[in-house]
């Protein structure tokens, strides 16, 4: 049973309650991790609506499969894996989506922060947007595993061993993917410069 203030309960306690059918306990987990989940999905999609939908889908998948969660990993690691799988699958389902048009939509529609400068001039803003589009396009050309490793490392700041756990791969494999991803990005962005 969750304590009188569920938001103060630990993940394990909340998972136990949710597994017993207390949906409210799971909602506390959602509140706890929704921002992280959204940011991960945003890194993969670079689109606000898609990121919202994907991260919510991950919570729903976790909720539906919660009875099968065997606690060999922490709830967050388990959930993270579901989310990353969905993010990888998203690209496959969407096929070759236009990252450039997504970037444009996100930046124009949502007033996102710009990469280089917190208060850019119109010229700098245009250059920042152009760079962002190029980077989006370069990221999109990476093979999915390389892209996932790169995003988890560069954007999420996970350690190599954490990425290896999430992706169920050896650390050496993760390092090799990261190496290839960085070199490919560097080459693409240099070519475009």
């Amino acid at each position: 049973m969750v304590s009188s203030r569920p938001e103060e309960s630990g993940d394990e306690e909340l998972v136990t309650s949710a597994q017993r059918g207390e949906r409210q306990a799971f909602e506390v987990l959602v509140d706890r991790y929704k921002q992280k989940a959204y940011r991960i999905a945003f890194d993969f999609t670079r689109d606000r609506e898609e990121a919202k939908d994907l991260s919510q889908e991950a919570f729903l998948q976790a909720f539906s499969h919660l009875k099968g969660f065997d606690r060999r990993a922490s709830f967050y690691t388990w959930f993270y894996r579901i989310l990353v799988n969905l993010c990888l699958d998203y690209r496959r389902r969407r096929g070759r989506i236009s990252w450039e048009s997504l970037d444009e939509r996100t930046e124009k529609g949502n007033g996102l922060d710009k990469i280089a400068n917190p208060a850019p001039s119109p010229d700098q803003q245009a250059m920042g947007e152009e760079l962002s589009r190029r980077i989006g396009a370069a990221l999109a050309t990476l093979p999915p595993k390389q892209r996932a490793v790169f995003l988890l490392k560069n954007h999420q700041g996970l350690s190599i061993s954490e990425i290896a756990t999430v992706m169920k791969a050896a650390e050496g494999t993760i390092k090799a993917h990261l190496h290839r991803a960085v070199m490919a990005l560097r080459q693409r962005l240099t070519e475009l410069a």
Partner: protein, 180 residues
Amino acid sequence: MAERHDPLRGACKDFEQDLILYYYQDCAGIERRRVESHLVSCASCRRFLEELQSLLPATVKSDEPSPAFWQSYSREIRARLVTADEKSRWWDAISFPFRPWPVPAVATALVLAVALTLTFTKGRWPFHQTPPQERELVEMASVTDNLDFFNSFDFLDSMDLLEAVEGKEMQKSETSHQPL
């Protein structure tokens, strides 16, 4: 150590991977010392590291949605969870008789009932006509077959979740992962 240079704008090939890990501060102990002592004497690798320092942070595109976005996010996910919860409870309720333990129990009882009926009513059913109990069995088998069919969807769903990360559908050119 022999230094082979990348024609693009060279770092030593033997240090490339470690320099990337060094940039991410995910390199410790001997490896870190090896990189640092190499950097002292190699201008190409220093340039490569500087390049990483300017290139990689620029690839991050962050997003800070407004509080209104998060309120709507919470409302939406709660509504979706309620729907999923109701659907799952409804499915649990209708599938209860066909769960793994009741199926053999019900089947055994039916077989026993049919056997006893046939024993005590032998000759009362024309050979070509299926007795009602057997018809029930056939119907039951058909329902459980359908259930297996739906269960296999669940299974595929889970497999999809677990295996998508292995990128089965991904490019064949990639090196295959060694599971932990």
